[in-house]
Subunit: 442 residues, 2 copies
């Protein structure tokens, strides 16, 4: 007889049977023996709840009791943990707070809710001694929260940088490989189910910002500062820039970036040029990857599927297994929500975007005349910015015009803005200046 | 006042101040505030021990008491945990068992000791309720043991495949980039400190086998089967094969591979062809990476430095932080040594190498005559093996000869051995057949 069977089960109430909820239900059933071996006790779904009762019946085949009222499920006495897979920051928040009040533990994949209300929710949970697992909220099945909170806990983390939205990475990969425009690829992605009917949160970078805000708080032991993140999506990105970047040895990726700097932390999401010889550049399609730089460990990278029913369920159930082991232990034995106890947080200011340090990619349409290049490079040099690479694309921009593309060495964004203003005032410059940031991973 | 300061320190006895021991000592000192925030208590080195007293004095500058007798250190009453960084499976084993007997917890980087004696040591530690952390034993600072034991615990793991020896990966990278022979690069690696004076354990694959044996036991919930691992190193690898592989779109890596199969598990270390478009192929120099395929999570990969003072210290201290949090908790609250409780282990047999399934690379010297290629491909096809790619290299092998290189689709190794025996018997075949395995990561 295995030890697993001598322990009472961890009793789960599963709220929300959408893609991830259904995946979690299936995974707990399919791998129940393996899961019990690793959790040292069985994990049992005691009740499920979803507004679509037809879907519930189809999924559970009558094997699991249905609780029509999710709020009642969240506070039932015969449940140890509420798995919140409803999503959004409306009803899910009410439900979560009620469950915490009732002393229930929580496992969730809800990045939007935590990014906006983590400080309130974790504060509440802390006062009630409640566990909150949210591995599934960032990068799907990749155990990146565990890596940051525990595996790399000895490090002073310097940066966390990731492809943490599969939809946009799929779109960027297709734009590059097929030379298509954003809107064409988005339509294809929607047809294939890689993008939602309303893709705003993904393509505008909001989803990635939710996730990098959580990783930032864990990496630096601060509160969650989603409201101060700088966010740019990929909707305005031109396939021309993807192609020029490629000619210069770069791929364009939508990155979430957070860094520790002397004056505070950087927290931003934007399309970014990545040198083609770093691993991050080879992360294609809907895959995710997170790069972490620590003072002791150096460069590390974590790669896998960032979304989908089963990868996300893998993370949900991993949290349940952690909880199963710690069910009878004191709350102090658990890893603090954001890696450090609330009382040990150090609040570092989020730096304004103008203060960040980065390499930059500039594209300008100019008149095809003698002396133009010299004018441009002189202005850039006069602004104290050093140029790393330079190409000119004859014919780009139209008749009698040419396009000039520069990549700079790292400088402060404020400097680039000044330089761009000066360049735009040159009579030979005939277009707006396209500006993208560059991340070297060095 | 932070919560950290209200808890008593975790008291460490540090045995062995070589590269990793010195790194651990330094890291605990340098990041002590960050570490205390994350451990919720200070971590203090109470005493150190090393046979080189001059080195001890230089490192500790008199700040930490020295215990001249490591065995006395291991059983001191004022120590919670012994960090064993002596290495080897002689004295280190005696010390570890004595420390466990005395009720001390253990953190170690000693893969050789655990690969050979894990079953005895973990059994002993289990009976005494003692923690053993060994994250540092595999892949340095990459938290791969935590990922497998906890982060992916919901999965039925299908395979674990890794570049887990930095010395050999450095040598293979140099051989490919510079076209040099193994012996030339080894000498350079020794000069640069990437290879030890006696490099046998690294270049013969033994170190990688220690590590993959530990990962295999965790992945599949079995005992550690190092004694049954199939081990081939890189000493006989020709730069010609590296070059041919590259022409065919592959890189050669020394991989540790373990897979779950219907009849048991595969457990092996050998030079392996990897398609150049998978991430593993781009892991260069002394870096490590581990690929894990799980039934729910799909493909994941973990990348970082696999050796060196600070990366390894990062893993040692992460284990200390885990222990610090769980110090007052019951042993059941901890993750079992190999991911599942001893009573829940399932012993799966290790398959003989002849029974493994793999793609294969074959290189043959043949007479440069009409009909030779047809003969060879017919023999291979008659053996039930299907050919994926094929090149012929005129001039390879000498006057009037040519070299033929085949890559097969996956088949059972026994089939390849039969086919090779038949090929070698052909009068037109004038050399031994070089055989390498191929891993597609699909």
């Amino acid at each position: 007889m295995s030890e697993a069977s001598t322990q009472r089960p961890l009793r789960v109430g599963l709220a929300g049977l959408g893609t991830v909820g259904a995946g979690t239900y299936e995974l707990l059933l399919r791998n129940r023996n393996e899961i019990a071996r690793r959790a040292s006790r069985p994990i049992e779904v005691v009740a499920v709840s979803d507004k679509d009762l037809g879907r519930v019946a189809e999924l559970t085949k009558g094997l699991t009791p249905v609780e029509p009222d999710a709020m009642a499920l969240a506070t039932r006495n015969d449940i140890d943990v509420v798995v919140e897979l409803i999503g959004g920051d409306g009803f899910a928040k009410t439900l979560m707070l009620a469950a915490i009040d009732a002393g229930r533990h929580i496992v969730t994949a809800n990045k939007a809710l935590l990014a906006k209300h983590a400080n309130e929710i974790f504060g509440h949970a802390h006062s009630r001694g409640t566990f909150i697992g949210f591995e599934a909220a960032v990068a799907g099945g990749i155990p990146i929260i565990k890596a940051l909170r525990e595996g790399l806990a000895a490090n002073r983390i310097q940066s966390v940088t990731g492809i943490i939205n599969g939809t946009t990475n799929f779109i960027l990969t297709e734009m590059r490989e097929k030379g298509l425009a954003f809107s064409e690829v988005l339509a294809e992605a929607q047809r294939l189910g890689y993008a939602e009917a309303d893709p705003t949160f993904d393509v505008e970078g909001v989803d990635a910002a939710h996730k990098i805000s959580l990783l930032s708080a864990i990496a630096f032991g601060t509160a969650v500062h989603f409201d101060q993140a700088h966010i740019e999506g990929i909707t305005k990105l031109s396939s021309r820039d993807i192609s020029y970047a490629e000619q210069m040895g770069y791929r364009i990726k939508l990155l979430g970036i957070t860094k520790r700097k002397p004056g505070g932390i950087e927290l931003r999401v934007h399309p970014t040029l990545v040198p083609e010889d770093v691993l991050m550049a080879s992360v294609e399609g809907a895959m995710n990857a997170v790069h972490v730089l620590g003072d002791a460990v150096g460069h590390t990278l974590y790669y896998g599927k960032g979304a989908g029913a089963m990868p996300t369920a893998s993370a949900v159930v991993a949290d349940l297994i952690d909880l199963a082991r710690l069910l009878e232990a004191a709350p102090e034995a658990r890893v603090p929500y954001l890696g450090v106890a609330a009382s040990a947080k150090q609040d570092l200011p989020v730096l304004p975007i103008a203060e960040i340090e980065s390499g930059f990619y500039l594209r300008l349409g100019v008149k095809d005349e003698p002396g133009v290049l010299a004018d441009i490079t002189r202005r850039v040099a006069d602004s104290g910015i050093s140029i790393d690479a330079f190409i000119q694309h004859p014919g780009g921009g139209g008749e009698g015009q040419t396009e000039v593309i520069l990549i700079t060495h790292p400088c402060i964004e404020r400097q680039i803005r000044l330089a761009v203003a000066q360049l735009s005032a040159l009579p030979s410059v005939v277009s707006d200046c396209t500006v993208l940031r560059v991340e070297s991973f060095q």
